[in-house]
């Protein structure tokens, strides 16, 4: 059944959870201010040997991977035409849009010259994997904003009431919205496809980033197919991320659990995660890196956790229809998948990164953790704000009637 209608939830904004989030975000903001006064070195443990740390591993790499719900659901619902799944597209899209926005915010904090972030648009280095990632992220962010526009238009079309503005202005904006609505509905397919193409490009290239450092990345992760692994894992994590986020949102906002959509959705995950698992294991067997598995180093342990708890266990769980139909167990399994992909990104960029000359250890400082946590909290706050005021989430059915 595909009858659905997205609407603003209009629920109470300041709950205790939201206050806690706001506190975390405020702490993060203080740390960000400290970073712009004292420099990156003042708040972080980054060094010559460890130039990338928590910010790149979590804010950027994991942020991009976990925003994969946006393009995977768009592919399913709009390109394959499975409109049954449309109710989850909007929240996934919002997650993706906010996710990428915060990726860029995280990048601004991490790069030394935040004010120079526009320079890749002028100075091109086609040899650089990062250049391709940056271009794709830039274009994709714009695509996401355009894809998000209909939700804003739908909310305000015919209802523009700017406080204190003359009628003429309101009417002008209104007709502008109507025009945008008309034009966008004609050309939206271009952006939907572009979103999928751009995602495939930079999701894989994010893995290709580390290919230039074969001596630094632990052999358990360093493989020529790293881009393919990043792409397949991003595709695989898309739907579990939708489940994760929908379950959290519907619980928190006391909405319909949408299990009738989420359960069939995760059938695809069994297949997609299976591909990723097969690639991972096959790569390990072919490159004979299983010899490292039991040497007890922190890298090996992190790899085992990533693979067993983050991929293998949830895959086995999702095989069972019982798990897919139980709200609780589905949430647990999907959380494990999300955690597994997150850990994979952290492993590739932080844990598995072992500079052979200096052999320095790295552990994120309080400042780094504060900024990362603050950004995530900020993202969640904005998510909640937007779903409260824009038609993103599905209305509970009884309210449709009411």
């Amino acid at each position: 059944m595909s009858h659905h209608h997205a609407a603003p939830t209009h629920s109470k904004f300041w709950t205790p959870g939201v206050v806690a989030l706001a506190f975390v975000a405020a702490v993060g903001l203080v740390a960000i201010i400290a970073r712009y006064i004292g420099g990156i070195g003042y708040v972080s443990n980054l060094s010559t040997a460890r130039p990338w740390g928590l910010w790149i591993g979590v804010d950027v790499a994991s942020g991009v991977a976990l925003a994969a719900g946006g393009f995977t659901t768009a592919f399913l619902a709009h390109i394959l035409g499975k409109h049954y799944y449309e109710p989850v597209v909007r929240p996934a899209l919002l997650t993706a849009m906010l996710g990428y926005t915060f990726v860029v915010l995280g990048l601004l904090v991490d790069i030394g010259r935040s004010w120079a972030i526009w320079k890749p648009m002028i100075y091109w280095n086609f040899n650089s994997v990062l250049f391709e990632v940056a271009m794709c992220v830039m274009f994709y962010l714009n695509v996401l904003y355009i894809e998000f526009l209909p939700m804003v238009i739908e909310r305000f079309k015919g209802r523009v009431r700017l406080p204190g503005a003359p009628d003429a202005l309101n009417r002008a904006i209104d007709s502008l919205l109507a025009l945008a609505d008309k034009v966008l509905s004609k050309i939206m397919w271009v952006f939907i496809i572009a979103g999928v193409v751009l995602s495939c490009m930079h999701q894989s290239s994010l893995g290709a980033l580390m290919l230039i450092a074969p001596t630094k990345l632990h052999p358990l992760w360093y493989t020529p197919i790293l881009p393919l692994l990043f792409l397949t894992s991003a595709i695989a994590v898309g739907y579990p991320m939708v489940v994760f986020e929908a379950t959290l949102a519907t619980t928190s906002l006391k909405l319909d659990s949408e299990m009738k959509i989420l359960t069939p959705l995760t059938r695809f995950t069994v297949f997609l995660l299976g591909i990723y698992l097969a690639l991972k294991v096959g790569d390990m067997v072919i490159r004979k890196t299983y010899v490292y598995l039991l040497d007890g180093t922190s890298q090996t342990n992190a790899f085992l956790i990533e693979m067993v708890i983050g991929v293998l266990a949830p895959w086995l769980m999702l095989l069972s229809p019982k798990v897919r139909q139980s709200r609780r167990w589905l949430f647990i399994a999907c959380t494990m998948v999300v955690g597994g992909v997150l850990l994979n990104r952290v492993n590739v960029f932080v844990v598995g990164y072992r500079p052979p000359v200096s052999e320095t250890n790295y552990f994120p400082s309080i400042g780094e953790v504060a900024i990362t946590a603050g950004l995530i909290a900020g993202l969640m706050l904005i998510y909640r704000f937007l779903v409260t005021h824009l038609p993103v989430l599905n209305k509970p059915e009884k309210e449709v009637i009411a």
Partner: protein, 306 residues
């Protein structure tokens, strides 16, 4: 559903086959190394650990004054790395060899940017702020830099350092090969000029390789038969001769192929003329078009909106 999936894979495989036949195999990766590159040979059997190169480097590059005097040789008791205030450092190693008076014979190792022939940092740099110059120097253009530090991730020698404590305009700091002095003033790199024992020999890289091979040949027993940097990471402008195996002197063992080769090969074979995104776009449009009927059949579809 089953039919649609079969269709989907049919379209995919047809499109894939079409692109495979249309595309000639990706061009082989080619080195961009300059033919006339300058370089340096550091002869570790000559180095006496006087730290004059550090001093000259500091003065030539107008770096901040050091914490401890350049004449203080006790700093050699600790292993150091080049950092944002020091482009070159000398470290002392004891490989266990002793002289006739039972004194351990030290080996001094000067560290600085190796100025790779195909530098990973330059390949990685998002804006091309780092570039290999015709004269061999890997040059840094601060006006392009955005501070992403991917160069530092990419560098197999862990050389580029960063001004982490500058909040707004930090720079990547590394040996410049005295680019300005060599290219515009016709002078020698500061360290090569000052070295009292010519442990650093400056010249064209190909000439230097000949000199180095001759030194190994004409002084049997003095050197290990290995010029570090001849092949490491595809070859570097700075190269080393040593009496001890390089692994014992803190040198990292590296593959002989240039670091950027794999990533650039993948990158260029996928994205030259943006062929793969265009093909993917076309395929997805086709799929979307093929499935559009199904979409219309299902009700309550909000006019192409999301």
């Amino acid at each position: 559903m089953g039919i649609s999936r079969r269709n989907f894979f049919k379209i995919l495989s047809v499109a894939g086959a079409a692109t495979a036949t249309a595309r000639t195999p990706a061009r082989a990766w080619e080195s961009q190394a300059p033919s006339e590159a300058y370089g340096c040979i550091v002869d570790l059997t000559r180095c006496i650990g006087c730290r004059k190169c550090e001093q000259a480097c500091n003065e030539v590059n107008k770096l901040p004054p050091p914490d401890r005097s350049f004449e203080d040789l006790t700093v050699l008791d600790r292993k150091r790395r080049p950092d944002e205030k020091t482009f070159t450092v000398v470290n002392r190693y004891y490989s266990g060899r002793i002289d006739e008076r039972d004194q351990l014979i030290p080996t001094f190792v000067k560290l600085q940017c190796m100025h790779c022939q195909d530098p990973a940092c330059a390949s990685a740099c998002i804006v091309g702020a780092l570039s290999k110059q015709e004269n061999g120097a890997v040059n840094y253009d601060v006006s392009k830099c955005i501070g992403c530090r991917y160069c530092m991730v990419a560098c197999p020698f862990e050389i580029p350092a960063y001004e982490y404590h500058d909040p707004i305009t930090p720079r990547v700091m590394k040996c410049t090969f005295c680019y300005e002095r060599v290219a515009n003033e016709g002078k020698l790199p500061g360290c090569a000029e000052i070295c009292p024992v010519e442990a650093i020999t400056f010249g064209r890289r190909d000439t230097l390789l000949k000199v180095a091979r001759d030194r190994i040949k004409e002084n049997p027993g003095r050197y290990v038969d290995h010029i570090y940097g001849e092949h490491e990471a595809g070859g570097t402008s700075w190269m080393y001769l040593s009496a001890q195996p390089f692994e014992k002197l803190g040198f990292v063992t590296l593959p002989d192929h240039p670091m950027p080769r794999l990533a650039e090969t993948i990158q260029h074979s996928l994205y030259s003329y943006l062929w793969s995104p265009i093909v993917l776009f076309g395929m997805l449009s086709g799929i979307m078009w093929a499935f559009r009927g199904k979409g219309e059949r299902q009700e309550d579809h909000e006019g192409g909106n999301l």
